[in-house]
């Protein structure tokens, strides 16, 4: 597949060279080699935004009526196309992100599985939550109408590719899969850190869409090295929802722009989380070494570039805790340096670690300077009082760094949990025997996080029906949603009620004979 460096404006129409030649350009960057890559990518223009939005608006008239079977075929065609492009995708994404080949191969499987999971979901069809309340013409004082409602697609969706998952959270990632499954045309703003990977995936989607005879505007992919095009997309009146995975600052900017529109729209931004781990003395005693090893893996794998990376560890005071900390510190110290995704991320990490090391009452256990775009693991320790008193210590430092605080008893943990902002995950490393004592803590963790773990580690986000990858602000912009798992489709739909409609004018899911055989709530049952 040739990389052209041009935005894809609708599945049949590329940004013209003439148009692109007027635009600013940028290049992909190889963080391992620390050098720019060929070819040049041209920033999309406001004109491209207009075209993509108009095409999406037009396509919505068709995509909202696609059957589950049609959408499933399209999603599976994308998955097949991605599998077919595996060699190129893994090569390019490895070059652009420095993520290891094995990880990228796994991420590709995750991406295609995710597309297939949504294909299965919409093919089966019950996800639309069809509800039927029958009429009662004899009711007094007024006859009761026939009411039928179901979830319908919200309209064109803008998705922002994420830097840390070039496949699974980018052009054909979870947001795109959920939006297309819902029946929403999708405009992706490619992450500028992996444009060639993005273009390959974009071409795969466009080809799949052509093969499945989808309308031109069902998919567009826009390049931009800055923020202008993304903002223009979020502000465009034809756009009805936004999916984003990235920094708190970036997510906040999108939330504000969306709220300030003449017609505000929902922004589903997955932003910032420190994923606290609470370790009990019982757990330490039972399996301290195993926890140290597991925690080390969770903090450092992928150079710590996961949204579920644990950035705060609560460890008991006393000897067992001292021993654990020594073992954990040794593991952190001996961690090989790794190349980070981008220079920007590496600089932000270096800056964050430096600042933490300088913070009063913070002890540095490990912190190595690294050359180029590489980063080393960092381990800090602070007091409970300092943790509770200094909000900066509860901020995310994106990378292989974590902060340990020592506690005395379960009341300390309740205090810490209460002071936390919203989190994607919260983990209790505990024994079953201790559970009754930690009930209050569990209660608070449930309020603070989208996913609460009993033992285990939060990295590794299963794509399934029960997953919640969400959580109260600032973990996400909308703590009532998830960006992973089949529930994620609910972000891009709205309920619509049809009153006294004739059968022929009803969507199949609401017709009396239930031709699709979906599960429905009829008279509340």
């Amino acid at each position: 597949m040739s990389i052209r460096g041009l935005s894809i404006i609708g599945i049949g129409i590329s940004q013209t060279d003439a148009n692109a030649s007027h635009a600013q350009s940028f290049r992909a960057f190889d963080p391992t080699q620390n050098r720019e890559l060929e070819p040049v990518f041209y920033n999309a223009t406001n004109d491209d935004v207009e075209k993509a939005a108009l095409l999406a608006r037009e396509a919505f008239a068709i995509t909202k009526k696609l059957s589950g079977a049609q959408k499933a075929r399209f999603l599976r065609a994308i998955a097949d196309g991605l599998t077919g492009a595996k060699a190129e995708l893994v090569e390019w994404s490895n070059r652009e992100t420095a993520l290891p080949i094995a990880r990228l191969e796994g991420e590709l499987v995750r991406t295609t599985s995710q597309l297939r999971l949504f294909a299965d979901l919409v093919e089966e069809g019950s996800w639309v939550q069809a509800r039927i309340d029958a009429s009662d013409p004899t009711r007094t004082p007024l006859p009761k109408p026939d009411l039928r409602s179901m979830l319908r697609p919200i309209g064109p969706v803008v998705v922002f590719g994420a830097s840390n998952f070039p496949l699974a959270f980018s052009v054909a990632g979870g947001d795109t899969a959920a939006a297309l499954a819902a029946g929403c045309p999708t405009i992706v703003k490619a992450h500028a850190a992996h444009p060639a990977t993005s273009e390959i995936v974009g071409q795969v989607i466009a080809q799949a869409a052509r093969n499945c005879e989808m309308p031109a505007g069902i998919f567009s992919l826009l390049f931009d090295s800055g923020h202008e095009i993304g903002m223009a997309l979020v502000k465009h009146p034809y756009v009805k929802a936004v999916g984003f995975t990235g920094s708190r600052r970036g997510g906040l900017a999108l939330m504000q722009a969306a709220a300030a529109r003449p017609e505000p729209i929902p922004v589903f931004a997955e932003m910032s989380s420190i994923n606290p781990i609470f370790i009990t003395s019982g757990a330490l005693k039972e399996r301290g070494s195993a926890i140290a090893k597991g925690l080390h893996g969770a903090v450092t794998q992928g150079v710590g570039q996961f949204c579920t990376n644990p950035g705060l560890v609560l460890l008991p005071k006393g000897e067992a805790g001292d021993e654990f900390l020594k073992e954990f510190a040794d593991l952190m110290q001996s961690t090989p340096q790794g190349t980070m995704l981008t220079r920007g991320i590496r600089d932000a990490y270096a800056q964050g670690v430096k600042q933490r090391a300088k913070t009063a009452s913070v002890t540095t256990h490990t912190h190595t300077e690294a050359a180029g775009n590489r980063a080393g693991a960092a381990l800090f320790e602070t007091s409970l009082a300092q943790l509770l008193g200094n909000p900066q210590l509860s901020e995310e430092v994106f990378g292989p760094s974590t902060l340990v605080a020592r506690y005395g008893d379960v009341y300390d943990l309740v205090l810490v949990a209460t002071s936390l902002e919203g989190q994607l995950t919260a983990t209790l490393q505990i024994t079953e025997a201790e559970l009754p004592e930690y009930g209050d803590l569990l209660d608070i963790l449930e309020e603070k996080a989208g996913r609460v773990l009993f033992n285990g580690f939060p990295t590794g986000v299963e794509v399934g029906h029960a997953m919640v990858h969400g959580g109260p602000f600032p973990a996400t912009s909308d703590g009532q949603s998830t960006s992973v798992g089949t529930r994620a489709i609910l972000r891009f739909v709205r309920p619509v009620c049809f009153q006294n409609f004739p059968e022929a004018a009803l969507p199949s899911e609401l017709q009396t004979l239930n031709p699709l055989g979906v599960h429905r709530l009829v008279e509340g049952r």
Copy 2:
């Protein structure tokens, strides 16, 4: 029941007289008699807000763990209490709102039915959308964890009483019923136009809560004649969601305040809708007179003070349309004047009607000046070009007023529908034979409204499982929600996932043996 004029801060604790004596006060107003009523009501203070919020926060630790059966018992106790206070409630609400006795009796039944519907819902329990994905310890490269998720209450909720439904959308109205059913402590800001009605309902809820041994902070009721207390509630860090029914300006102010919080929270505001009615020539021919009578009823009943009041009617050009308009205008002209809910609403209506009458290219068919707090029906006509060109003509005039525009063909209707803002409802008065021709129009109406009606009229909002009383902005602040029907509970919950939890620590709905027998999605089935 004695009306004390004091806020209820937690179910056992009233605002103290000492506290109240420092506060500003206001009186209820009888719009029919045009005079102030006894007793005095004291505005709540910021101190009261603090207390109510703290109590609610404390209560949440208990309310979030209430079983469906416990919540059902509480909701039914409120319903019973309201029925028991029927005489007082109807008398006071009639005095404070000028709504007719029969309407208020009906509204009380609607209010208690709504509470009982939510009681049934939470007692049955399946509404929590429990999902279980089983573990697979043998999976490679990584074992699959056990994941179980369900909807959990979001936290303390603030509800604003609405002026136009002193019972069904006020202190124990739909928002409160949904929030309590979800397990959320609820703080109601009483609407200052019916404080005595609000206090009676508040006392009923407090008594029911005491009888059911609920925690003190599960319910508070705050009075304020201004906006300060409502704003303080929305900004309070312990408050996690807001329910509101009222004006676009009021809803926007709450949306902005909630978005500007350090932790933004969702605001579910039901605001502004003109509920367009599209009448086809076939429908006119088949049943023109019936439509004229039905439309007249929908526009003028309750002095037009419904959010689903039709404010725009698209009528075919030509003789049949002329005849319809004449008949409809006669009905509008002969409509008795009625007393509006408040002086403010009456003044806004008079102002809105006056402005519309002065608008270029608007013909006034009926428009009578009315004395005191009374208002007469108003009927205006405009051209399609004017309607499309002047956004003011698509704004809501709250009261018994509507605007007719004449159209040539279905393309005109598509144009109008496309130009509309989001609506609670959109209605097609049509014959089945015409349906194929109007497919494009139906498609657009589905995008614009929460509920689309085939024939019928939009006033009369059934409380059931399939109802959607919502719609894209500005009909509501969140077009993905409904404020009426059992789906309304979804506004006050968030999904939480439990990973690898031992049975004993799981909510009953997620335990393997399913002791409550709720419907669950297990492995996607």
